[in-house]
């Protein structure tokens, strides 16, 4: 190989690497990974055809589940942040930007679509479509890996799993059956669950088509899951909330996919005074796709939205959404 050709290859590789940071953060060790011992996937005890079959097997094994009271239900109070996940290992081999899409994990149409998405990520440095850029919710399963801060509130009859981005709130109906009186699917679907001692087992159905994240495979409207949540403690005062998940999708997967996601206590955030609040998507609204790539509207440009500007009634006193400083930016003509 000539020196010039070698240099060209290095240059191409460097360009691809330089523009592909997200491929790295998509791997285990990312999104808070590296806290505590390596995450290990625990597959289900046998193969199930559907999430419902899987869930009922676990429910029967738990003899109908543990009936917790308000005093016995496991408490996961406080702030939590993501502590890694393994989901990309199911789809990319080896992990990282040098990896390739695993053949035979996804069905042919979903595999073809994902290979194009992965090509964009590796070669162009970005996937040219992200629902969040358009202010759509992360949805499920993306909810499982979204960073920012989380709260998990357990009551005997219901659990509330909260991500402050969006915000995205999942409700787990304990000891109940699925309901879908709306006759449609939604971003977080319908989740039922039961307690098996200190483990929370859930079954989620009726989800809208979504994805694991923008550099991960797409999911269909038949995507379902069975999750097992458990607070684990390790040496060195490591406390980790681990979620073993089996994903089912008859349109997207050749067979069910297993992964583990984790959260750790956000003690650093609590110490910094953070409290969960509603983060609106107004800043996101300034992110757009233009000529095939992501960019942002700037102050003064048409369509710019000022998240700390004023309300629809700027002439009234006290309408600034930045009352501490009450500053202004050049306004653009907002898109309706």
């Amino acid at each position: 190989m000539s020196v010039a050709r070698s240099l060209r290859l290095v240059a191409v590789a460097a360009f691809a690497l330089f523009n592909a940071p997200s491929t790295i953060v998509a791997q285990p060790g990312a999104f808070g990974g590296g806290y505590g011992p390596p995450l290990a996937v625990v597959p289900p005890p046998k193969t199930f055809q559907t999430s419902e079959e899987h869930y009922k097997f676990l429910l029967a094994a738990a003899k109908g589940g543990t009936k917790h009271t308000i005093t016995s239900v496991p408490r996961w109070d406080g702030l939590w942040v993501t502590a890694g996940n393994t989901h990309m290992s199911s789809f990319i081999d080896p992990p990282g930007f040098t990896g390739k899409v695993r053949d035979g994990v996804l069905t042919p149409p979903y595999e073809k679509a994902y290979k194009e998405r992965w090509r964009q990520q590796v070669e162009l440095g970005e996937v040219q479509y992200d629902r969040l850029t358009h202010c759509e919710p992360p949805g499920y399963p993306r909810w499982l890996l979204e960073p920012y801060s989380h709260e998990f509130v357990n009551l005997p009859q219901e659990s509330y799993l909260i991500n402050d981005f969006g915000p995205g709130i999942r409700r787990i109906y304990i000891g109940q059956e699925h309901k879908n009186v709306y006759g449609t699917h939604s971003w977080y679907g319908d989740t039922i669950g039961f307690w098996d001692g200190d483990k929370l087992v859930t079954n989620t159905k009726y989800l809208l088509p979504a994805d694991f994240t923008r550099w991960s495979p797409m999911t269909s409207n038949q995507f379902e899951s069975v999750e097992t949540w458990q607070l684990k403690k390790y040496s060195g005062d490591v406390e980790r909330l681990e979620v073993q998940v089996t994903f089912y999708d008859r349109h997207a997967f050749v067979k069910p996919v297993n992964a583990v996601y984790a959260f750790r206590r956000g003690k650093d955030l609590e110490a910094a005074g953070h409290r969960v609040q509603h983060w609106e998507c107004e800043t996101s609204n300034n992110d757009v796709f233009d000529k095939g790539t992501t960019t942002s509207r700037l102050p003064g440009e048409a369509g710019f939205k000022d998240a700390r500007g004023s309300t629809l009634f700027p002439d009234l006193p006290g309408q600034s959404r930045d009352p501490i400083y009450n500053t202004t930016l050049p306004s653009g003509k907002e898109q309706k």
């Binding site: 590789a13 955030l269 910094a272 983060w279 700037l298 102050p299 700390r308």
Partner: protein, 157 residues
């Protein structure tokens, strides 16, 4: 052997370039991360918002006019643990920032580090530019030598 060496170099470059955790809901391809620049101005607005914060500063131009520059940083949930809060950049205060400029030439970029009026350096960066301690130390020397662009500083080696 040479192929292995090239792969190793590539992996090293990648690990260095991807050191900062990206919490974004969009890619950073809009920023030219091959160059870092420095600008000084007065704070117009510190939009301490999720999923991205934005620092807006007025920068004086050579012709005496001013341009409002916009710099994208990380989310509050990340910045709070780095000692940056909603009042770190007060309107009217002088601030110096490093940034990777937008590829399309508009007055904006991914923020790296920021130097407050009292001389303190902070790191509000997301994945758009390098605001690490290593980058700050590198730039302290370059700033002392009068450089405001990494490309200019790197020419003189």
């Amino acid at each position: 052997m040479r192929t292995t060496f090239r792969l190793l170099i590539g992996a090293l470059v990648a690990s260095l370039l991807t050191a900062s955790a990206a919490m974004a809901h969009h890619s950073f391809a809009m920023f030219d991360r091959s160059i870092e620049k420095v600008a000084t101005g007065t704070v117009a607005r510190w939009a301490f918002n999720a999923p991205h914060s934005w620092l807006y500063i007025n920068v004086k131009n050579a012709d005496g006019g001013e341009t409002l520059w916009s710099f994208e940083g990380s989310a509050p949930q990340s910045l709070l643990t780095r000692g940056i809060s909603g009042s770190t950049f007060e309107p009217g205060a002088t601030v110096t920032v490093s940034f990777c400029p937008m590829k399309d030439g508009r007055p904006a970029g991914g923020i790296g580090w920021a130097r407050l009026a009292n001389g303190t350096f902070v790191n509000p960066s997301d994945g758009g530019c390098d605001g690490s301690v290593k980058a700050i130390e590198k730039w302290k020397a370059w700033l002392a030598a009068g450089y405001t662009s990494s490309s200019d500083a790197q020419k003189v080696k």
